[in-house]
């Protein structure tokens, strides 16, 4: 528990400053766009409805989806600029997060501004005209000062929303306090999840209270109070941003999808790069679909993927060649289609597999899926929630003519428990899952090759294809990590007691395999 907390605090300055920088930039951008639009709309009622409707519509898109949608959009723009001016724009990380959150921040600002300005007493507006103000003098001297408290109120609402929503920037590769939450959820590290939530709540409350001071000051024309609020706000911002300003951008960025094995391997690669004297950082929790495109677009420099995933999802292949041939074809295809380099396979596969308790399997004399097919009519099969809708299940069932007495689906944690209790006899599993080790399970051989191979492979971005420093740092990983060892590392992170952080597990894995000193 204390080690977890210490690990959480160790990365706090970085996550916090990234979070604050992102939220603040998004609010600033949102305000810069919203205020003129809202002021314009306040004066032209015909514009009011479209603007309010548009910003409300944005608000109804779940923030996570909005963030994710900006990635392909920016990727397309990046392709366009590449064609037009020969330079790409970043599609991952800060930019998509900034744009999505800025859009998200618009509604409260627009709404507050429009209602504050159009709510000003008509007699006061007439008086402004009567004393001879031009329309811009009326805006600056009368309308904005009178609307200021409400506008600050709108900014406050936007601030609280944005600080909360910024935790969702993690999957598009922008570090934030959400990194605690996303990685914590994946590794069932509740200390991290709670820590991330609490930190973001504290930041939001603090920002809200300081802006409340500004708002009250503006409303009462008590400028001391307003300045105290603004000053406190600025001070808090500077304090949290200081770490970000002092960190130079890293030479290398290593990507990771959103599960424990990926976190551990990304940490291992980052540590190796650092050991070789290069600066490196992780972008973790990237969506499975996002991460490859990020690599192809050079937004990240390297990550680990699985051969079968790329084979089916990118190459759209349905055949199932032997392991070596699949790797060779995949490597050629990657090189040709996107310039991505496959450095090599790590030495273990993270396949779909069927797993049984060791004693039960030997009691029934089952070592392969073909053996299982014979006993299946007496057995109960436990799956995770999505397995039965996957193409892998259909090809498996058809290849072996599997007919179980009963099939029950569970969430993964309960599926393993059900196997342990004897409620089910066989389950679906990922072959590198640590629980296979912990519960002394066996995975059944697949003599008919119904499941494709999912070799863990190191991929390198096109622009790093000839980067010897990167290749030299990562090449020793090829063939160095066996299935048993990977399972153990995964287990260390996933187990309920004595949990390690992915980084600690990576250090241990590195030391034992000689990859780290």
């Amino acid at each position: 528990m204390n080690a977890q907390l210490a690990a959480a605090f160790a990365v706090l300055p970085n996550y916090l400053s990234q979070h604050v920088l992102l939220s603040l930039s998004a609010i600033a951008l949102g305000a810069v766009v919203s205020l003129p639009l809202a002021i314009w709309a306040a004066r032209r009622p015909t514009l009011r409805w479209p603007l309010l409707a548009g910003t409300s519509l944005v608000q109804t898109i779940p923030a996570l989806a909005l963030l994710a949608l900006f990635y392909p959009l920016l990727l397309a723009i990046s392709g366009l600029t590449q064609e037009l001016v020969g330079a790409t724009t970043p599609a991952l990380g800060f930019l998509p997060a900034l744009l999505a959150l800025a859009l998200y921040a618009m509604l409260p600002i627009v709404r507050a501004t429009i209602s504050a300005i159009s709510g000003i007493d008509a007699a006061i507006i007439e008086a402004a005209d009567a004393v001879g103000m031009t329309s811009s003098q009326r805006l600056w001297r009368v309308e904005l000062p009178l609307a200021a408290p409400s506008i600050v109120g709108g900014l406050r609402t936007a601030m609280v929303w944005t600080i909360g929503a910024a935790t969702l920037a993690t999957p598009v590769g922008q570090a934030s306090l959400g990194n605690y939450i996303f990685s914590g959820l994946q590794t069932e590290n509740w200390v991290f999840v709670l820590f991330g939530c609490a930190a973001s709540v504290v930041v939001a409350l603090l920002a809200d209270q300081l802006l409340a001071l500004v708002e009250a000051g503006a409303a009462k024309r008590d400028w001391k109070r307003a300045i105290a609020g603004a000053g406190g706000f600025a001070l808090a911002v500077v304090a949290t941003l200081a770490p970000a300003a002092s960190v130079a951008p890293s030479a290398y960025v290593i990507g990771a999808k959103n599960f424990s094995e990926q976190f551990i391997l990304a940490d291992l690669m980052t540590l190796r790069l650092r050991a070789a004297g290069h600066s490196a950082e992780k972008r973790e929790g990237l969506g499975s679909a996002v991460v490859f495109r990020a690599l192809a677009a050079n937004d990240i420099d390297a990550y680990v993927d699985y051969s079968g995933t790329l084979w089916t999802n990118l190459m759209h292949r349905t055949d199932n060649p032997p392991r070596e041939r699949m790797l060779a074809e995949l490597s050629d295809w990657l090189k040709k289609s996107s310039g991505v380099v496959m450095l090599g396979a790590l030495g273990f596969e993270n396949n779909f597999a069927l797993a049984m308790k060791r004693e039960r399997a030997s009691e029934l004399g089952i070592a392969t899926i073909a053996d299982l097919a014979r006993a299946a009519p007496q057995l109960t099969f436990g799956t995770d929630l999505e397995f039965q809708s996957r193409p892998e299940w259909r090809s498996l069932r058809d290849a072996y003519d599997l007919r179980f007495r009963e099939i029950i689906s569970y969430n993964p944690t309960f599926m393993y428990r059900a196997l342990d209790d004897g409620q089910v006899d066989v389950i679906t599993a990922f072959s590198s899952d640590g629980r296979i080790l912990a519960q002394n399970l066996v995975t059944l051989d697949d003599p008919k090759n119904a499941f494709p191979h999912y070799d863990a492979i190191v991929l390198i971005a096109p622009k790093r294809a000839n980067d010897e420093k990167l290749r030299a740092a990562l090449r020793p990983l090829v063939g160095a990590i066996g299935l048993e060892r990977m399972r153990r590392a995964n287990l260390e992170v996933d187990r309920d007691a004595d949990k390690l952080t992915p980084r600690a597990a990576a250090e241990e894995l590195g030391k034992e395999t000689g990859l780290l000193k």
Binding site: E126, D129, A130, V131, G132, L146
Partner: protein, 251 residues
């Protein structure tokens, strides 16, 4: 100085116009009172002079120029205006309210400060009121500040809409006479809307009576009170009868 020719005001298309073809010629130095029952179009007519309302017909000339040829804000800076509803800016102090038009005209700081002092003296309020917010003033005090604000930029024309409506009779009388003296001294041209024909008769050189948007009489107070205009006798009958009744009581 101010020329209205067949001016009409219609708020809604096709609705009954609030002012119908009103013509009026006001020379420099005139003090004109605009009287008439509530809803007769006094405010509507007055606001066409500084273009707070655009007339639906007719022309208005101020200082021998068609008002449509002025940029609206320039026209308005030359004409002091006192609202029926006071219209002080709630987010500015009394001082800032009074200084607004001079500051829009780009006067320098000292000149504005001196001018604010001058016009503030006219309205007979304690000096520490200058730094108060309008919300901290009584209705009558606010009206006086509004008069000071209208005078601040040294306009040659002042148009006032019920400027003394919220004052007690004693203050009203004193302020009315103080204003009249100022009108003389500064050579102003004044148009004042009032419900109170007695006040109109005592302050103005000329009374213009409106009814249902039409000018029905336009003459000196003396002629009005002597019954030369039977169409407005009802308006002037009441104050005369009241004055006689008061005189009876005092006997």
């Amino acid at each position: 100085m101010i020329e209205l020719q067949r001016v009409s005001v219609a708020y809604a298309d096709g609705g009954r116009p609030a002012v119908r073809e009103a013509s009026l010629s006001i020379s420099a130095g005139d003090f004109v009172a605009l009287v008439g029952p509530s809803g007769s179009g006094k405010t509507s007519l007055l606001k066409t002079i500084n273009r707070l309302i655009e007339p639906s017909g007719g022309t208005i000339r101020v200082e021998d120029r068609d008002v449509a040829d002025f940029a609206a804000h320039e026209l308005r800076r030359r004409i002091g205006y006192v609202f029926q509803g006071v219209g002080l800016f709630p987010h500015m102090s009394v001082r800032e309210n009074i200084a607004i038009t001079p500051s829009l005209l780009g006067w320098d700081r000292e000149k504005i400060a001196a001018r604010v002092d001058d016009v503030f003296d006219l309205i007979a309020l304690p000096r520490d009121y200058l730094d108060r917010a309008p919300s901290a003033l009584s209705g009558g005090e606010r009206q006086r500040v509004a008069v000071a604000r209208a005078l601040a930029a040294e306009p040659r024309i002042v148009i006032m809409d019920e400027p003394f409506g919220a004052l007690d009779p004693v203050t009203r009388d004193a302020l009315g006479r103080a204003y009249r003296a100022l009108h003389e001294r500064m050579g102003l041209t004044t148009v004042m809307v009032t419900h109170d024909v007695q006040e109109a008769a005592l302050l103005a050189d000329r009374i213009v009576a409106l009814r249902d948007g039409c000018i029905v009489a336009d003459d000196t107070p003396r002629a009005m009170l002597s019954g030369a205009h039977p169409e407005v006798s009802d308006m002037f009958e009441t104050p005369r009868r009241q004055a006689a009744a008061i005189a009876d009581l005092a006997r």
